[in-house]
Structure formats: C-alpha cells, structure tokens
Assembly symmetry: C2
Homo-oligomer: 381 residues x 2
C-alpha cells in the first residue's frame, strides 16, 4: 500500500479533468466533432506560446519537433551554433550533424548558463551561421539559458534563434513574439500536464522564409504541409486523438489560471525547492541561473545518488530524477512543473530528509520543510 | 490549479486499482459472473472481520447496518446500554429508542474512553439488559473504547456486545471471534478504501439466536434473509454492483498487504500525527485512549477552528474534519485510515503549520513535520 508521487521533469502528473477527458470514447479525426476540439486547442496553444503564429501539433515526442526545426529550415552544409550545456543541448548538435549541418559546438559547463557574449563572438566570427540552437530550460542541468539576449543577437542577422522550450513553455516567461524567437518547440508531458506523445512547434515569419529554401529531406515532419492542414482544423497524418482531447482540457486549465499566475506558481515552488535544499546543507547544481522547471541538487559526499533516487522511488513512492552522464549518481532533481503545487514540494523535501537520514547522512528533520514553508505560504491569501 | 487531498475520517481516498475496477462496465447481478465477484469479496470480508461467521453486505451506509443490529436482535421494551461518548454513541441510543427499546445511557466525557467497570456496574444492577452498544472507534472524539473488556463482560450473560467498528475494522485489531464480539458493523468508505454506499455486518452464533425471538419490524434489513442469499452467492435485493466490484479489489489489496502490516501502518501514521500535534504545542482531544483512525487536536485559543478547517480545505486543498456539537470550532481532526501513507501525514501537518501561521498563531515551521518524520521513517527499511 504505497501512494505514488511523480516529481520527475517529465512525464509530469496529469490533472483529473484531463485524465477524464482522455478517457472519453475515441472519435474519428476526420469529423467536424474532432475539428472543433482541435481548433480550440490550436487557439489556446497560441496563448501559451505567446504568439500570433500558428502552433503546429505533431504526434511525436519533443525530439520530433526539434528534428522538424532542423529539417524544415536548413540544408546540408549550413552552419549552426549548438549551445551545449547538457544532454539536450548535445541533442541539438547531434540532430544537426545527422542531417549534414556544420555544427559550431558552444560548450558550456554543466550547471552554468551560456553567456550571450559567447554566442555573439561566434556569430561575429562566422557570419555564415544560419541558426542558434539552444534550450530555454536545459532539463539535465536545471539551468535557464538567456534566450531573450540570444534572440536579440540574431534579429538583424540572416540567422534564426531556435529554442527548445520543452521544459520552459508554460513554466516561465518565454514570449515568442515579443522576444523575437524564430522557432519555439515544446512537448505535451511537461507544463502541458499531459502524457507524452504530442510535440508543439511554432515558426516566426522569418523562419517560414527559411523553410522555402531548405533542402533537408523530410516527410512526416513537413511543417508547410501541417500548416496548410492546420488552416483546415486538421492534421496531415492521423492525430493522437485522445491526447489532443486532453490537451484542450489542460490548456483550458492553464487559461483559467492565467499565464501570469502559472509562472508565479512555478517560481514559488522553485524558490521553495532551492531554499529547502540550501537549508539542508545541500549544494545547488545551478545556483546562478536556475530553471523554474526543476531543481538539481548535489547529493552529499559519501551518499550514492543512484541508490538514493532508487530508494526514494521504490521504498517511499516518490519519483524524482537522478543525474545523467558525468552527473550520474552525483545529483538528484526535484521537478516542479505542470500540475504541481505546494505539497509536492513538501513531499519531495520530506522524502529527501528521511532518505538522507536512512543513508547515514546527518539531517535536521524538518529544516528543509521549514525553509520551503516560509516561501510556500506566499501562495495563500 | 489546486491538488486536493482527502484526509477526513470518511469518505477516505480510493486506490487507483479500485477506482479502475469500479469503472468497469456494469454487469447484471443475477449472473454467475457477478456471483464470482461477490463470493470472493464475501470470503475476504471474513478475513478482515477476523471471523468464521458470514459477513453480510448491505447497500446502505454504516448507519443501515447499525439499524439492522437493533431491528434483527431486539424487541420493543428490551433494555440495552448505549455507551454515549460522542456523536456515534448517541446514535446507538437514538436508534434503539426509535424502535421502542429502553436505553440505559452510559454517558462518557467526550475525548475519554468508557470504563469497562462502568458497563459492568450497569449490567450487574440491571440483569435484564440484553445488549451493550458501543463504538470500537468513536470517530467524533477520536477515542478507542475497550471493546475486548466489554465483550468479556457479556460473554456469560444473556446479553450481546454490539460493536460499531465503522472506523475500526481494518484500522486496528478488533478480532471478532477471539474477543467474542456478537455483532460487528463496518462501512465501505473507511478502511475499506471505497466510496460510501456499502455496510457490512457479522453476527456471532449467540446473536443469531437472538434473531429468532426478535420482534422489531424490519424488511430491507432482514439479516436472516440476507444470510440465506449469501449462501447462494447473492443478495436479497439489488446489490451495489460497482461498489462490490471495487470491494473485491480493495480487499485484495488489504489481503496482499496483510492485516498485521495494515494495523502497523495505521499505528505508525497515528503516532506520527499525535507526535506532530504535541510538537506544535497543540493539545490532543483523546490523549489517553486514542483511536488510530483519526487524531483530534484542540485549536489554539484565539483561533476559530471552523475558519481554520475551511481555510485548509478551500485555500490549501486539504480536507480535514472539524468538531461536532460542543466541539464545533474547537478542534480539528486529521484522519489517517484506509488508503493513507507517510506523506498524507506530512501534508496534513505542513498544512496545519502554514495555516496556523496565517491565522496569527506563532508556529515554528517544520517542528511538527520533524516530529512526524522521526516516527514515519520507521516505515522504511
């Protein structure tokens, strides 16, 4: 008899009304009935992306939309910058290389944000660069990159700012149009409070221009074809019907709460997670430019982080995330994006307090929770 | 965007696998298919009641089974003792009076358990008394009454011990057969981890003898008729099909965990709730004979308990219970029965810490949680 709590940076918990919407009988996708759901979801996606442009839905995980960004906008041999400060930055570069692009790898220490100045230097030195590929939130290191500054750098160049906002859109402010982001990508299983299976992508007018001359091979992820279908309230290929039915409900919940309040909630939860970690004497992975999607914490010396995460998941029922690559076993990550609230943070912190104690680390019980409560109480009138 | 946590002493949370079982398409009740489910549930009920006798399922709330105890075993004019130490003890007496029984009201201060000696004195003084009606767990005052001692008093008399175990069966040890309890009653929405709508009742051989001479009017709650049907794996009247389908699953979960572990879990959660309350400087309602089903706590002077419970429910999403009658506004009750685990206690205590602070009461954040964690950590290897 164990209750389960999902506090990993994706998939994230799905609200009850969305689960119930997805449990509705499957309807056919070439019907006015489905088109009405689709159209409403498409409209609400623009609100969350903060854009006037179309937001295309793909039956794919987020990586599918990342791939679509490359294959629809570039040609083999094109030069791009890949901001590589974690697993997902690395993915931008590998994806580009898979399609024959020339990648300028911009290495960033894990846990640090890229400096816009470093991007500028690369662009100045290599005027042929056609795109800067970055994360808004690098999930593997819990870092937020300076997307606004990067977008400002490419605005007057023949170059696109392409942003993986998979754990950023709906978490913190990444206003696509006003910041001049050319491509913004996200995925269903994050702040959209849905199961995995849908990817979202929106292109600026400048990006659509790039589409015209792009020569990468593509078929399923043909964004021009999808845009044409979107105009007719449908998709080119079979859409994930139940996920889109759920999307409409999750987006309705986001709209009802209001983006500003959604961002404030994520900010409050993130600050509480960071304060609790520090109160427990644990070092933050990204102290300077943390993402509000998740909080990375170094496990204390002498504690095996992999075993700790496994214990918290299997014995305590709380699913946090560990570290990847060279951070494997050295960190744990508390996610606080999507359908998360005050007591998710309390649960995570309390679980960490008891688990560290079990692992022989000296912990003052309640000290992390106390620091979290000091911040979380702001959430109540 | 608020998550909801149900920590009231009924209804209690329902596990996912039980919810899914109840979401199965409705089957007809006069079929071998339903009889198989019914039979399995009936067998597992005996395990939870710790009895060799039949446990009858009624489509009713617990009060229905209390009424069945009176109408099936007594006649107008019969004398009974009603242990009246709270709302539910009072109900025993009122129910008996409604059917013309003569009630010896045994008044007990709210928050205290009845003394078996007081019951003995009444029985000795009034040899005509046919039944002692008591709660095993008086939910309104979070008290456990000494059922074992009471049952020992009636064993050799022409008198039954009739126990409302609605918030006791499946929470702590109330072994019907070995303690010689004559009637044991419970309800679905408590430790059985189901929605409300089912009541359970089991009678000893001695109680079935009383059934033969009882003259109270009855029809729907005719236990002899139900027992006959139970022998044919069915019910006299239409059973609550989906609830019984869910019951089978919830009982399977209880069996899988094992009664001993179920009791240990409730004991751990209850001790944690009490320790947390004391650490926060809050007085327990039932310090001497607390029930492991729920913990009653006095709210501090100057704090309006009704407003506090409302704030915790409406603002924080956590449903606790307040007080009834003269305790209205003076106490709150944290329930920890049924599908509850470590983090339900943490959530309740953390919510109380933040809410008391909001209400102007001086609280050391984390101090209640720390006391709870000291005990809850026992639950992990």
């Amino acid at each position: 008899m164990k209750k389960r709590y999902l506090l990993a940076p994706g998939p994230t918990p799905v609200p009850e009304s969305t689960l119930l919407a997805m449990a509705s009988p499957i309807i056919h996708h070439r019907t006015p009935q489905f088109s009405a759901i689709f159209k409403e979801a498409a409209g609400l996606l623009r609100y969350v992306f903060q854009t006037e442009e179309d937001v295309i839905m793909l039956a794919a995980s987020g990586t599918g939309a990342m791939e679509a960004s490359i294959t629809n906008l570039f040609s083999p041999g094109d030069e791009v910058v890949a901001v590589n400060g974690g697993k997902f930055g690395e993915r931008w570069g590998k994806l580009s290389e898979a399609y024959g692009l020339k990648v300028h790898w911009l290495q960033v220490e894990w846990g640090k944000a890229v400096e816009a100045g470093a991007v500028k230097k690369l662009l100045d030195k290599n005027p042929g660069i056609k795109g800067v590929l970055t994360q808004a939130s690098e999930t593997s290191t819990t870092v937020a990159h300076p997307v606004k500054e990067i977008a400002a750098l490419t605005r007057d160049r023949d170059c696109l700012t392409i942003v993986d906002g998979i754990t950023a859109v709906g978490v913190f402010d990444v206003p696509m149009d006003s910041w001049g982001i050319d491509v913004l990508v996200s995925g269903s299983q994050k702040a959209f409070m849905l199961p995995p299976g849908l990817a979202f992508i929106s292109l600026s007018k400048k990006a659509w221009k790039f589409r015209e001359s792009s020569k990468c091979p593509r078929f399923y992820f043909d964004l021009a074809k999808e845009r044409k279908n979107l105009g007719k309230d449908t998709t080119a290929y079979t859409p994930a019907v139940s996920l889109i039915t759920g999307l409409k409900e999750s987006l309705r919940l986001i709209k009802e709460e209001g983006l500003e309040k959604v961002f404030a909630r994520h900010d409050r939860l993130a600050r509480a997670a960071r304060a609790a970690s520090l109160a427990l004497g644990l070092k933050l992975l990204a102290p300077e430019s943390p993402s509000n999607a998740a909080t990375g914490i170094y496990v204390p010396d002498g504690v095996d982080g992999e075993k700790l995460v496994k214990f918290i998941r299997d014995e305590m029922g709380v699913t946090l995330a560990g570290g990847q690559d060279h951070l494997k076993g050295r960190i744990l990550r508390i996610a606080h994006l999507g359908f998360t609230d005050t007591f998710d943070i309390i649960i995570a912190v309390s679980a960490i307090e008891m688990a560290l104690h079990k692992f022989g680390h000296k912990v003052k019980f309640g000290s992390g929770v106390a620091a979290a409560e000091e911040i979380l109480k702001e959430g109540y009138r």
